[in-house]
């Protein structure tokens, strides 16, 4: 059974994986619940998006 309450470690894992593959709906829900209460993981979500954008610009 998928758990809906996850910790930061699990949230980091899903924040990374969602950049590579669509998450299952239970994972999406668990992540959304976690991000609502965790400022730090919301920052990490933006950091990961930032990293993708930066990597694409490495050759410019």
């Amino acid at each position: 059974m998928a758990r809906l309450i996850i910790n930061c470690r699990q949230a980091h894992w899903l924040l990374s994986r969602q950049r590579d593959v669509p998450l299952r709906w239970t994972e999406r829900l668990a992540l959304r619940i976690h991000l609502r209460v965790c400022d730090w993981c919301r920052i990490v979500e933006r950091n990961f998006a930032f990293l993708s954008r930066a990597a694409r610009r490495l050759d410019s």
Binding site: N7, C8, R9, Q10, H12, W13, S16, R17, R19, D20, V21, D39, W40, C41, I43, V44, R46, N47, F48, F50, L51, S52, R53, A54, A55, R56, R57, L58, D59
Partner: protein, 195 residues
């Protein structure tokens, strides 16, 4: 030489250091990088007559380099796959990042607006240093995904990894890069402490 500007050949030759830097960062092997760059320069010189001038020479040549890098990965796939397997068997090195209950031990920095960071010359130098500090398999997979923009299924197949192991490597790479940039760039550049 068709419509190409007479200075174009020199412009291509002058790109060599840039191409080598990118190839080394992605391939993590000096000899492979030099092969990829030599092949790129030859292909660019030969293709110059057909270059339509609609894009910048630099963009066009970097496009060729990306293909030559991918060729190198195909040729060296055995060794690349072995190194990736080895990396998977290592620990993730992220023990200090989370406490026993899986919560972050310290606050991440808010990096603010990407364009502001990109506008500063040192940003990309520090990003490259951080990528270079990753174990080679993690640096390779991160750039295959985020610079060459391969989809994960293709990367896993080329590296002969299960999809889970592929995601694990990308996770390790992103988290370590994030920590590295916190320490080496944003901590001293007005990154705001949050929490």
């Amino acid at each position: 030489m068709g419509r190409a500007h007479p200075g174009s050949a020199q412009e291509i030759a002058d790109l060599r250091p840039t191409l080598l830097r990118l190839a080394r960062l992605q391939l993590r092997n000096q000899a492979w990088a030099e092969d990829a760059v030599s092949e790129t320069l030859v292909a660019a010189m030969e293709g110059l007559a057909a270059f339509d001038g609609r894009s910048q020479i630099r963009t066009w040549v970097v496009g060729i380099l990306k293909h030559k890098i991918i060729d190198q990965f195909r040729r060296r796939s055995r060794e690349v796959a072995l190194e990736a397997q080895h990396e998977i068997s290592e620990g993730d090195g992220l023990e200090q990042l989370f406490d026993d209950s899986g919560h972050r031990a310290s606050a991440p920095l808010d990096w603010g607006d990407p364009e502001t960071a990109f506008a500063r010359g040192e940003f990309f130098a520090i990003l490259q240093a951080c990528i270079d500090q990753l174990p080679a398999p993690l640096g390779r997979i991160f750039l295959l995904r985020e610079w060459l923009e391969f989809d994960t299924a293709q990367i896993c197949k080329e590296m002969k990894l299960t999809s889970t192991n592929c995601f694990v490597m990308l996770y390790r790479a992103r988290v370590r890069l994030r920590e590295c940039l916190d320490r080496n760039w944003f901590a001293g550049q007005g990154g705001r402490q949050n929490g």
